[in-house]
Symmetry: C2
Subunit: 276 residues, 2 copies
Protein backbone atom coordinates (compact mmCIF):
# COMPACT_ATOMS: atom_id res chain seq x y z
CA UNK A 1 0.00 0.00 0.00
CA UNK A 2 1.47 3.35 -1.13
CA UNK A 3 0.13 6.29 0.92
CA UNK A 4 0.73 9.88 -0.20
CA UNK A 5 0.56 12.64 2.42
CA UNK A 6 1.53 16.20 3.22
CA UNK A 7 5.23 16.15 4.07
CA UNK A 8 7.88 16.37 5.25
CA UNK A 9 8.56 13.36 7.47
CA UNK A 10 7.26 14.01 10.97
CA UNK A 11 3.98 15.74 10.12
CA UNK A 12 0.78 14.77 11.91
CA UNK A 13 -0.56 13.64 8.53
CA UNK A 14 2.28 11.13 8.35
CA UNK A 15 1.27 9.88 11.82
CA UNK A 16 -2.29 9.38 10.55
CA UNK A 17 -0.96 7.42 7.56
CA UNK A 18 0.98 5.12 9.91
CA UNK A 19 -2.09 4.74 12.14
CA UNK A 20 -4.07 3.69 9.07
CA UNK A 21 -1.48 1.17 7.85
CA UNK A 22 1.78 0.70 9.82
CA UNK A 23 3.26 -1.22 6.88
CA UNK A 24 2.42 1.32 4.17
CA UNK A 25 5.04 2.85 1.91
CA UNK A 26 4.90 6.55 2.92
CA UNK A 27 5.15 9.14 0.14
CA UNK A 28 5.47 12.76 1.36
CA UNK A 29 4.40 15.60 -0.98
CA UNK A 30 4.83 19.38 -0.59
CA UNK A 31 1.07 20.14 -0.59
CA UNK A 32 -2.21 18.33 0.11
CA UNK A 33 -3.19 18.87 -3.53
CA UNK A 34 0.00 17.19 -4.76
CA UNK A 35 -0.71 14.20 -2.49
CA UNK A 36 -4.22 13.84 -3.96
CA UNK A 37 -2.98 14.21 -7.53
CA UNK A 38 -0.49 11.39 -6.86
CA UNK A 39 -3.45 9.04 -6.33
CA UNK A 40 -5.22 10.36 -9.42
CA UNK A 41 -2.07 9.60 -11.45
CA UNK A 42 -1.78 6.13 -9.83
CA UNK A 43 1.55 7.00 -8.20
CA UNK A 44 -0.05 6.24 -4.82
CA UNK A 45 -2.99 4.09 -3.67
CA UNK A 46 -4.38 6.42 -1.02
CA UNK A 47 -3.91 10.08 -0.06
CA UNK A 48 -4.34 10.96 3.63
CA UNK A 49 -5.64 14.52 4.15
CA UNK A 50 -6.49 16.38 7.38
CA UNK A 51 -10.11 17.54 7.23
CA UNK A 52 -11.03 18.75 10.73
CA UNK A 53 -9.23 19.71 13.93
CA UNK A 54 -10.96 19.75 17.33
CA UNK A 55 -9.59 23.21 18.21
CA UNK A 56 -9.31 25.02 14.86
CA UNK A 57 -12.21 23.54 12.89
CA UNK A 58 -12.31 22.62 9.21
CA UNK A 59 -9.09 22.33 7.21
CA UNK A 60 -9.92 24.71 4.37
CA UNK A 61 -7.12 23.45 2.05
CA UNK A 62 -8.74 19.99 1.93
CA UNK A 63 -12.31 21.31 1.56
CA UNK A 64 -11.20 23.45 -1.41
CA UNK A 65 -9.81 20.33 -3.13
CA UNK A 66 -13.10 18.47 -2.55
CA UNK A 67 -15.21 21.38 -3.84
CA UNK A 68 -13.18 22.62 -6.79
CA UNK A 69 -11.65 19.59 -8.40
CA UNK A 70 -13.18 17.05 -10.70
CA UNK A 71 -11.89 14.19 -8.60
CA UNK A 72 -11.41 10.65 -9.79
CA UNK A 73 -11.05 9.61 -6.14
CA UNK A 74 -13.49 9.19 -3.27
CA UNK A 75 -13.29 9.11 0.52
CA UNK A 76 -12.61 5.51 1.52
CA UNK A 77 -11.69 5.86 5.22
CA UNK A 78 -11.50 8.26 8.14
CA UNK A 79 -8.74 8.29 10.75
CA UNK A 80 -8.76 10.21 14.04
CA UNK A 81 -5.51 10.75 15.94
CA UNK A 82 -4.66 12.75 19.06
CA UNK A 83 -2.51 15.80 18.35
CA UNK A 84 0.33 16.17 20.86
CA UNK A 85 2.86 18.99 20.90
CA UNK A 86 6.21 17.65 22.16
CA UNK A 87 8.94 19.92 23.55
CA UNK A 88 12.11 18.92 21.72
CA UNK A 89 15.75 20.04 21.60
CA UNK A 90 19.44 19.12 21.83
CA UNK A 91 19.97 16.77 24.82
CA UNK A 92 21.23 17.87 28.26
CA UNK A 93 20.04 21.48 28.15
CA UNK A 94 18.90 23.33 31.28
CA UNK A 95 15.54 25.09 30.93
CA UNK A 96 17.04 28.17 32.62
CA UNK A 97 19.36 28.67 29.62
CA UNK A 98 16.66 28.44 26.96
CA UNK A 99 16.29 31.76 25.13
CA UNK A 100 13.89 30.86 22.29
CA UNK A 101 11.18 28.29 21.50
CA UNK A 102 10.51 27.70 17.80
CA UNK A 103 7.36 26.35 16.17
CA UNK A 104 4.50 26.99 13.79
CA UNK A 105 2.43 29.93 15.19
CA UNK A 106 -0.60 27.65 15.72
CA UNK A 107 1.43 25.21 17.83
CA UNK A 108 2.99 28.08 19.83
CA UNK A 109 -0.48 29.48 20.51
CA UNK A 110 -1.79 26.07 21.60
CA UNK A 111 1.03 25.71 24.19
CA UNK A 112 1.20 29.30 25.46
CA UNK A 113 0.23 28.65 29.11
CA UNK A 114 2.53 25.65 29.54
CA UNK A 115 5.44 27.48 27.89
CA UNK A 116 4.97 30.37 30.33
CA UNK A 117 5.18 27.88 33.21
CA UNK A 118 8.11 25.82 31.88
CA UNK A 119 10.37 28.42 30.19
CA UNK A 120 9.01 31.83 31.27
CA UNK A 121 11.97 33.77 29.85
CA UNK A 122 12.09 32.10 26.42
CA UNK A 123 10.87 34.07 23.41
CA UNK A 124 8.44 32.31 21.02
CA UNK A 125 9.74 32.37 17.43
CA UNK A 126 7.54 31.54 14.44
CA UNK A 127 8.60 28.83 11.95
CA UNK A 128 6.96 27.77 8.68
CA UNK A 129 6.16 24.30 10.05
CA UNK A 130 6.79 22.27 13.20
CA UNK A 131 9.18 20.14 11.12
CA UNK A 132 11.20 23.24 10.12
CA UNK A 133 11.28 24.37 13.79
CA UNK A 134 12.68 20.99 14.90
CA UNK A 135 15.20 21.05 12.06
CA UNK A 136 16.44 24.50 13.17
CA UNK A 137 16.85 23.45 16.81
CA UNK A 138 19.39 20.75 15.83
CA UNK A 139 21.88 23.53 15.03
CA UNK A 140 21.09 25.85 17.93
CA UNK A 141 21.81 25.21 21.60
CA UNK A 142 19.69 27.20 24.10
CA UNK A 143 16.65 26.73 21.86
CA UNK A 144 13.76 24.30 21.95
CA UNK A 145 11.12 23.44 19.37
CA UNK A 146 7.50 22.32 19.62
CA UNK A 147 6.49 19.57 17.22
CA UNK A 148 5.59 15.98 16.54
CA UNK A 149 7.49 13.53 18.77
CA UNK A 150 8.16 11.39 15.68
CA UNK A 151 10.35 14.14 14.20
CA UNK A 152 12.77 14.11 17.17
CA UNK A 153 14.25 10.65 16.76
CA UNK A 154 15.79 10.89 13.26
CA UNK A 155 17.59 14.07 14.41
CA UNK A 156 18.90 12.53 17.69
CA UNK A 157 17.06 15.18 19.66
CA UNK A 158 15.75 14.80 23.21
CA UNK A 159 12.02 14.89 23.99
CA UNK A 160 11.81 17.11 27.10
CA UNK A 161 8.03 16.70 27.36
CA UNK A 162 5.83 14.48 25.15
CA UNK A 163 2.88 16.93 25.23
CA UNK A 164 2.82 20.53 26.44
CA UNK A 165 -0.56 21.39 24.81
CA UNK A 166 -2.71 23.59 27.06
CA UNK A 167 -5.86 21.81 25.87
CA UNK A 168 -5.54 18.01 25.95
CA UNK A 169 -8.69 17.49 23.83
CA UNK A 170 -6.82 18.14 20.59
CA UNK A 171 -7.56 15.60 17.86
CA UNK A 172 -7.53 15.74 14.08
CA UNK A 173 -9.76 13.80 11.76
CA UNK A 174 -8.22 12.74 8.44
CA UNK A 175 -9.78 11.26 5.33
CA UNK A 176 -8.22 8.74 2.95
CA UNK A 177 -8.87 9.41 -0.73
CA UNK A 178 -8.58 6.49 -3.13
CA UNK A 179 -10.03 5.05 -6.32
CA UNK A 180 -11.74 2.00 -4.80
CA UNK A 181 -15.31 2.04 -3.48
CA UNK A 182 -15.65 0.54 -0.01
CA UNK A 183 -18.50 -1.96 0.59
CA UNK A 184 -20.84 -1.48 3.59
CA UNK A 185 -19.58 -2.65 7.00
CA UNK A 186 -22.79 -2.01 8.94
CA UNK A 187 -21.49 1.14 10.63
CA UNK A 188 -20.55 3.60 7.92
CA UNK A 189 -20.58 7.27 7.09
CA UNK A 190 -21.32 8.95 3.78
CA UNK A 191 -19.97 12.40 2.91
CA UNK A 192 -21.90 14.65 0.56
CA UNK A 193 -21.24 18.06 -0.96
CA UNK A 194 -23.96 20.20 -2.49
CA UNK A 195 -24.86 23.73 -3.53
CA UNK A 196 -28.28 25.29 -3.89
CA UNK A 197 -29.73 27.48 -6.62
CA UNK A 198 -29.23 31.18 -5.88
CA UNK A 199 -32.93 31.97 -6.14
CA UNK A 200 -33.96 29.45 -3.51
CA UNK A 201 -33.10 30.90 -0.12
CA UNK A 202 -33.90 28.62 2.74
CA UNK A 203 -33.86 25.49 0.62
CA UNK A 204 -31.25 23.98 2.94
CA UNK A 205 -34.01 22.56 5.10
CA UNK A 206 -35.65 21.05 1.98
CA UNK A 207 -32.39 19.26 1.19
CA UNK A 208 -31.96 17.97 4.75
CA UNK A 209 -35.59 16.91 5.23
CA UNK A 210 -35.32 13.65 3.20
CA UNK A 211 -32.63 12.57 5.69
CA UNK A 212 -34.51 13.86 8.76
CA UNK A 213 -37.77 12.08 7.95
CA UNK A 214 -35.88 8.79 7.57
CA UNK A 215 -34.16 9.40 10.95
CA UNK A 216 -30.77 9.37 9.25
CA UNK A 217 -28.20 10.86 11.60
CA UNK A 218 -26.37 13.92 10.34
CA UNK A 219 -23.08 14.12 12.22
CA UNK A 220 -21.57 17.19 10.62
CA UNK A 221 -22.42 20.14 8.41
CA UNK A 222 -19.84 22.61 7.20
CA UNK A 223 -20.51 25.57 4.92
CA UNK A 224 -17.97 27.31 2.70
CA UNK A 225 -18.57 30.33 0.47
CA UNK A 226 -18.96 29.63 -3.26
CA UNK A 227 -17.05 32.91 -3.93
CA UNK A 228 -19.77 33.72 -6.48
CA UNK A 229 -22.23 35.64 -4.29
CA UNK A 230 -22.54 36.42 -0.59
CA UNK A 231 -24.97 34.01 1.05
CA UNK A 232 -24.32 31.12 -1.36
CA UNK A 233 -22.43 28.13 -0.03
CA UNK A 234 -20.97 24.73 -0.62
CA UNK A 235 -22.37 22.48 2.09
CA UNK A 236 -20.34 19.51 3.31
CA UNK A 237 -22.59 17.04 5.11
CA UNK A 238 -21.68 13.75 6.80
CA UNK A 239 -24.50 11.28 7.40
CA UNK A 240 -24.50 7.91 9.12
CA UNK A 241 -25.02 5.02 6.71
CA UNK A 242 -23.66 3.74 3.40
CA UNK A 243 -24.70 4.99 -0.05
CA UNK A 244 -25.53 1.35 -0.94
CA UNK A 245 -28.08 1.16 1.94
CA UNK A 246 -31.58 1.51 0.45
CA UNK A 247 -32.57 4.06 3.09
CA UNK A 248 -29.57 6.30 2.33
CA UNK A 249 -29.85 5.86 -1.44
CA UNK A 250 -33.54 6.82 -1.32
CA UNK A 251 -32.84 9.91 0.81
CA UNK A 252 -30.07 11.07 -1.54
CA UNK A 253 -32.32 10.47 -4.56
CA UNK A 254 -35.02 12.63 -2.95
CA UNK A 255 -32.56 15.36 -1.86
CA UNK A 256 -30.66 15.67 -5.15
CA UNK A 257 -33.36 17.51 -7.19
CA UNK A 258 -33.63 20.07 -4.36
CA UNK A 259 -29.98 21.01 -4.83
CA UNK A 260 -28.26 22.77 -7.71
CA UNK A 261 -25.50 20.18 -7.65
CA UNK A 262 -24.89 17.25 -5.30
CA UNK A 263 -21.90 14.93 -5.27
CA UNK A 264 -21.32 11.85 -3.12
CA UNK A 265 -17.75 12.16 -1.83
CA UNK A 266 -17.68 8.59 -0.55
CA UNK A 267 -18.95 5.99 1.94
CA UNK A 268 -16.51 4.56 4.49
CA UNK A 269 -16.43 2.85 7.92
CA UNK A 270 -16.99 5.12 10.92
CA UNK A 271 -13.78 5.55 12.92
CA UNK A 272 -15.44 4.60 16.24
CA UNK A 273 -16.54 1.34 14.65
CA UNK A 274 -12.97 0.39 13.80
CA UNK A 275 -11.50 1.24 17.19
CA UNK A 276 -14.16 0.02 19.63
CA UNK B 1 -25.48 57.64 17.67
CA UNK B 2 -22.01 56.45 18.83
CA UNK B 3 -20.74 53.50 16.76
CA UNK B 4 -17.70 51.52 17.90
CA UNK B 5 -15.77 49.54 15.28
CA UNK B 6 -12.48 47.85 14.48
CA UNK B 7 -10.00 50.61 13.69
CA UNK B 8 -8.03 52.42 12.53
CA UNK B 9 -9.76 54.97 10.31
CA UNK B 10 -10.13 53.58 6.79
CA UNK B 11 -11.10 50.00 7.62
CA UNK B 12 -13.97 48.32 5.79
CA UNK B 13 -15.74 48.07 9.17
CA UNK B 14 -15.66 51.87 9.36
CA UNK B 15 -17.22 51.98 5.87
CA UNK B 16 -20.01 49.70 7.11
CA UNK B 17 -20.60 51.99 10.11
CA UNK B 18 -20.95 55.00 7.78
CA UNK B 19 -23.29 53.00 5.51
CA UNK B 20 -25.43 52.23 8.56
CA UNK B 21 -25.54 55.83 9.80
CA UNK B 22 -23.68 58.57 7.88
CA UNK B 23 -24.14 60.95 10.84
CA UNK B 24 -22.82 58.60 13.53
CA UNK B 25 -19.95 59.46 15.83
CA UNK B 26 -17.31 56.85 14.82
CA UNK B 27 -15.26 55.27 17.61
CA UNK B 28 -12.36 53.08 16.37
CA UNK B 29 -11.03 50.35 18.72
CA UNK B 30 -7.94 48.10 18.33
CA UNK B 31 -9.92 44.83 18.31
CA UNK B 32 -13.46 43.64 17.55
CA UNK B 33 -13.78 42.52 21.18
CA UNK B 34 -12.85 45.99 22.44
CA UNK B 35 -15.51 47.52 20.17
CA UNK B 36 -18.17 45.16 21.61
CA UNK B 37 -17.08 45.81 25.20
CA UNK B 38 -17.47 49.55 24.54
CA UNK B 39 -21.20 48.96 23.98
CA UNK B 40 -21.46 46.75 27.05
CA UNK B 41 -19.89 49.56 29.13
CA UNK B 42 -22.25 52.13 27.51
CA UNK B 43 -19.33 54.00 25.90
CA UNK B 44 -20.95 53.36 22.51
CA UNK B 45 -24.50 52.65 21.33
CA UNK B 46 -23.70 50.06 18.66
CA UNK B 47 -20.69 47.96 17.69
CA UNK B 48 -20.30 47.07 14.01
CA UNK B 49 -18.55 43.71 13.46
CA UNK B 50 -17.73 41.84 10.23
CA UNK B 51 -19.33 38.39 10.35
CA UNK B 52 -19.02 36.91 6.85
CA UNK B 53 -17.08 37.61 3.66
CA UNK B 54 -18.20 36.34 0.26
CA UNK B 55 -14.71 35.03 -0.62
CA UNK B 56 -13.20 33.99 2.73
CA UNK B 57 -16.26 32.82 4.68
CA UNK B 58 -17.03 33.35 8.35
CA UNK B 59 -15.09 35.91 10.37
CA UNK B 60 -13.93 33.68 13.21
CA UNK B 61 -12.99 36.57 15.56
CA UNK B 62 -16.62 37.71 15.66
CA UNK B 63 -18.07 34.19 16.01
CA UNK B 64 -15.78 33.54 18.99
CA UNK B 65 -17.16 36.65 20.72
CA UNK B 66 -20.74 35.50 20.11
CA UNK B 67 -20.04 31.97 21.37
CA UNK B 68 -17.77 32.62 24.34
CA UNK B 69 -19.00 35.78 25.94
CA UNK B 70 -21.92 36.37 28.26
CA UNK B 71 -23.13 39.24 26.16
CA UNK B 72 -25.42 41.99 27.36
CA UNK B 73 -25.92 42.98 23.71
CA UNK B 74 -27.85 41.48 20.81
CA UNK B 75 -27.75 41.72 17.03
CA UNK B 76 -29.92 44.66 16.03
CA UNK B 77 -29.01 45.11 12.36
CA UNK B 78 -27.10 43.65 9.43
CA UNK B 79 -25.19 45.68 6.84
CA UNK B 80 -23.76 44.39 3.55
CA UNK B 81 -21.15 46.43 1.68
CA UNK B 82 -19.09 45.72 -1.43
CA UNK B 83 -15.38 45.24 -0.71
CA UNK B 84 -13.17 47.10 -3.17
CA UNK B 85 -9.40 47.07 -3.19
CA UNK B 86 -8.11 50.44 -4.41
CA UNK B 87 -4.59 50.94 -5.77
CA UNK B 88 -3.18 53.93 -3.90
CA UNK B 89 0.11 55.87 -3.72
CA UNK B 90 1.93 59.19 -3.90
CA UNK B 91 0.58 61.22 -6.89
CA UNK B 92 2.25 61.42 -10.30
CA UNK B 93 4.10 58.10 -10.23
CA UNK B 94 4.71 56.07 -13.38
CA UNK B 95 3.72 52.38 -13.08
CA UNK B 96 7.00 51.41 -14.75
CA UNK B 97 8.94 52.76 -11.75
CA UNK B 98 6.93 50.91 -9.10
CA UNK B 99 9.12 48.34 -7.30
CA UNK B 100 6.80 47.17 -4.50
CA UNK B 101 3.07 46.90 -3.73
CA UNK B 102 2.19 46.77 -0.04
CA UNK B 103 -0.96 45.35 1.57
CA UNK B 104 -2.44 42.79 3.91
CA UNK B 105 -1.67 39.31 2.47
CA UNK B 106 -5.39 38.60 1.92
CA UNK B 107 -5.80 41.78 -0.17
CA UNK B 108 -2.63 41.01 -2.16
CA UNK B 109 -3.95 37.50 -2.88
CA UNK B 110 -7.33 38.85 -3.98
CA UNK B 111 -5.68 41.19 -6.53
CA UNK B 112 -2.92 38.91 -7.81
CA UNK B 113 -4.02 38.68 -11.46
CA UNK B 114 -4.68 42.41 -11.85
CA UNK B 115 -1.37 43.29 -10.18
CA UNK B 116 0.44 41.01 -12.64
CA UNK B 117 -1.22 42.89 -15.50
CA UNK B 118 -0.75 46.44 -14.12
CA UNK B 119 2.66 46.32 -12.42
CA UNK B 120 4.25 43.03 -13.54
CA UNK B 121 7.68 43.87 -12.09
CA UNK B 122 6.52 45.05 -8.65
CA UNK B 123 7.12 42.76 -5.67
CA UNK B 124 4.18 42.16 -3.31
CA UNK B 125 5.10 43.04 0.30
CA UNK B 126 2.97 41.95 3.27
CA UNK B 127 1.70 44.53 5.79
CA UNK B 128 -0.21 44.01 9.04
CA UNK B 129 -3.28 45.79 7.67
CA UNK B 130 -4.36 47.66 4.55
CA UNK B 131 -4.31 50.84 6.66
CA UNK B 132 -0.67 50.20 7.67
CA UNK B 133 0.23 49.55 4.01
CA UNK B 134 -1.30 52.85 2.92
CA UNK B 135 0.44 54.66 5.79
CA UNK B 136 3.82 53.24 4.67
CA UNK B 137 3.33 54.30 1.05
CA UNK B 138 3.08 57.99 2.07
CA UNK B 139 6.80 57.91 2.91
CA UNK B 140 7.99 55.78 -0.02
CA UNK B 141 8.04 56.81 -3.67
CA UNK B 142 8.05 53.96 -6.21
CA UNK B 143 5.64 51.99 -4.02
CA UNK B 144 1.89 51.51 -4.14
CA UNK B 145 -0.55 50.12 -1.58
CA UNK B 146 -3.82 48.22 -1.87
CA UNK B 147 -6.53 49.30 0.54
CA UNK B 148 -9.78 51.07 1.23
CA UNK B 149 -10.29 54.15 -0.96
CA UNK B 150 -11.43 56.06 2.14
CA UNK B 151 -7.92 55.79 3.64
CA UNK B 152 -6.29 57.60 0.70
CA UNK B 153 -7.86 61.04 1.15
CA UNK B 154 -6.63 61.99 4.65
CA UNK B 155 -3.07 61.17 3.51
CA UNK B 156 -3.31 63.22 0.26
CA UNK B 157 -2.60 60.08 -1.76
CA UNK B 158 -3.75 59.42 -5.31
CA UNK B 159 -6.20 56.63 -6.15
CA UNK B 160 -4.71 55.00 -9.26
CA UNK B 161 -7.57 52.50 -9.56
CA UNK B 162 -10.70 52.34 -7.39
CA UNK B 163 -10.89 48.52 -7.51
CA UNK B 164 -8.28 46.06 -8.73
CA UNK B 165 -9.94 42.96 -7.15
CA UNK B 166 -9.76 39.92 -9.42
CA UNK B 167 -13.21 38.78 -8.25
CA UNK B 168 -15.79 41.57 -8.31
CA UNK B 169 -18.30 39.57 -6.21
CA UNK B 170 -16.56 40.49 -2.97
CA UNK B 171 -18.95 41.65 -0.26
CA UNK B 172 -18.84 41.55 3.51
CA UNK B 173 -21.82 41.20 5.83
CA UNK B 174 -21.57 43.04 9.15
CA UNK B 175 -23.74 42.86 12.25
CA UNK B 176 -24.55 45.70 14.64
CA UNK B 177 -24.53 44.73 18.32
CA UNK B 178 -26.50 46.92 20.74
CA UNK B 179 -28.57 46.80 23.90
CA UNK B 180 -31.98 47.61 22.38
CA UNK B 181 -34.34 44.96 21.03
CA UNK B 182 -35.66 45.75 17.55
CA UNK B 183 -39.42 45.33 16.93
CA UNK B 184 -40.64 43.30 13.91
CA UNK B 185 -40.63 45.05 10.53
CA UNK B 186 -42.31 42.28 8.51
CA UNK B 187 -39.09 41.12 6.85
CA UNK B 188 -36.66 40.12 9.57
CA UNK B 189 -33.98 37.62 10.39
CA UNK B 190 -33.26 35.91 13.70
CA UNK B 191 -29.80 34.57 14.58
CA UNK B 192 -29.47 31.60 16.91
CA UNK B 193 -26.53 29.79 18.45
CA UNK B 194 -26.79 26.33 19.96
CA UNK B 195 -24.80 23.31 21.00
CA UNK B 196 -25.95 19.72 21.33
CA UNK B 197 -25.32 17.18 24.09
CA UNK B 198 -22.24 15.04 23.34
CA UNK B 199 -24.17 11.78 23.54
CA UNK B 200 -26.70 12.76 20.89
CA UNK B 201 -25.03 12.36 17.49
CA UNK B 202 -27.25 13.39 14.64
CA UNK B 203 -29.56 15.50 16.77
CA UNK B 204 -28.89 18.46 14.47
CA UNK B 205 -31.78 17.37 12.28
CA UNK B 206 -34.03 17.15 15.37
CA UNK B 207 -33.15 20.77 16.19
CA UNK B 208 -33.79 21.96 12.62
CA UNK B 209 -37.02 20.01 12.10
CA UNK B 210 -39.24 22.41 14.13
CA UNK B 211 -38.22 25.13 11.66
CA UNK B 212 -38.52 22.91 8.58
CA UNK B 213 -42.03 21.69 9.37
CA UNK B 214 -43.19 25.31 9.77
CA UNK B 215 -41.56 26.19 6.39
CA UNK B 216 -39.30 28.71 8.12
CA UNK B 217 -36.44 29.62 5.79
CA UNK B 218 -32.97 28.88 7.06
CA UNK B 219 -30.58 31.19 5.23
CA UNK B 220 -27.30 30.19 6.85
CA UNK B 221 -25.72 27.56 9.05
CA UNK B 222 -22.16 27.79 10.30
CA UNK B 223 -20.44 25.28 12.59
CA UNK B 224 -17.45 25.98 14.82
CA UNK B 225 -15.66 23.49 17.08
CA UNK B 226 -16.48 23.68 20.81
CA UNK B 227 -12.79 22.88 21.51
CA UNK B 228 -14.06 20.33 24.05
CA UNK B 229 -14.27 17.22 21.87
CA UNK B 230 -13.85 16.46 18.16
CA UNK B 231 -17.24 16.29 16.48
CA UNK B 232 -18.98 18.72 18.88
CA UNK B 233 -19.89 22.12 17.53
CA UNK B 234 -21.41 25.50 18.11
CA UNK B 235 -24.01 25.99 15.38
CA UNK B 236 -24.82 29.50 14.18
CA UNK B 237 -28.14 29.51 12.35
CA UNK B 238 -29.95 32.43 10.67
CA UNK B 239 -33.67 32.01 10.05
CA UNK B 240 -36.14 34.30 8.33
CA UNK B 241 -38.62 35.86 10.74
CA UNK B 242 -38.67 37.70 14.07
CA UNK B 243 -38.48 36.07 17.49
CA UNK B 244 -41.74 37.90 18.38
CA UNK B 245 -43.58 36.17 15.49
CA UNK B 246 -45.69 33.34 16.93
CA UNK B 247 -44.47 30.90 14.28
CA UNK B 248 -40.80 31.61 15.06
CA UNK B 249 -41.33 31.67 18.83
CA UNK B 250 -43.12 28.28 18.67
CA UNK B 251 -40.36 26.74 16.56
CA UNK B 252 -37.64 27.98 18.92
CA UNK B 253 -39.61 26.70 21.92
CA UNK B 254 -39.84 23.27 20.29
CA UNK B 255 -36.16 23.23 19.24
CA UNK B 256 -34.67 24.42 22.53
CA UNK B 257 -35.15 21.17 24.55
CA UNK B 258 -33.42 19.26 21.74
CA UNK B 259 -30.27 21.34 22.25
CA UNK B 260 -27.84 21.40 25.14
CA UNK B 261 -27.90 25.19 25.11
CA UNK B 262 -29.61 27.63 22.75
CA UNK B 263 -29.32 31.40 22.74
CA UNK B 264 -31.17 33.92 20.58
CA UNK B 265 -28.52 36.35 19.34
CA UNK B 266 -31.10 38.82 18.05
CA UNK B 267 -33.86 39.66 15.56
CA UNK B 268 -33.24 42.42 13.04
CA UNK B 269 -34.42 43.67 9.63
CA UNK B 270 -33.10 41.77 6.60
CA UNK B 271 -30.60 43.85 4.63
CA UNK B 272 -32.46 43.36 1.33
CA UNK B 273 -35.57 44.74 2.96
CA UNK B 274 -33.85 48.01 3.83
CA UNK B 275 -32.23 48.51 0.44
CA UNK B 276 -34.93 47.41 -1.98
Amino acid sequence: MRISHLGPTGTHTESAAIEYDPNAQLMPYPTVKDAVHAVERDEADLAICAIENALEGAVIETLVILQNEILSVNISAEIVIPIKHALIGIPNQSFTNITTVHSHPQALAQCRDNLMALVPNAKPVAALSTAAAIESTTRNPNTLAIGNIRAAKPQSLHVYNPDISDNKNNQTRFIALGKNLVPPTGDDKTSLIFTMAHDLPGSLVDVLSPFAKRKINLSRIESRPTRQQLGTYYFFVDIHGHQDDTLIADAIKEAQPKTQWLNILGSYPRWNYIKS
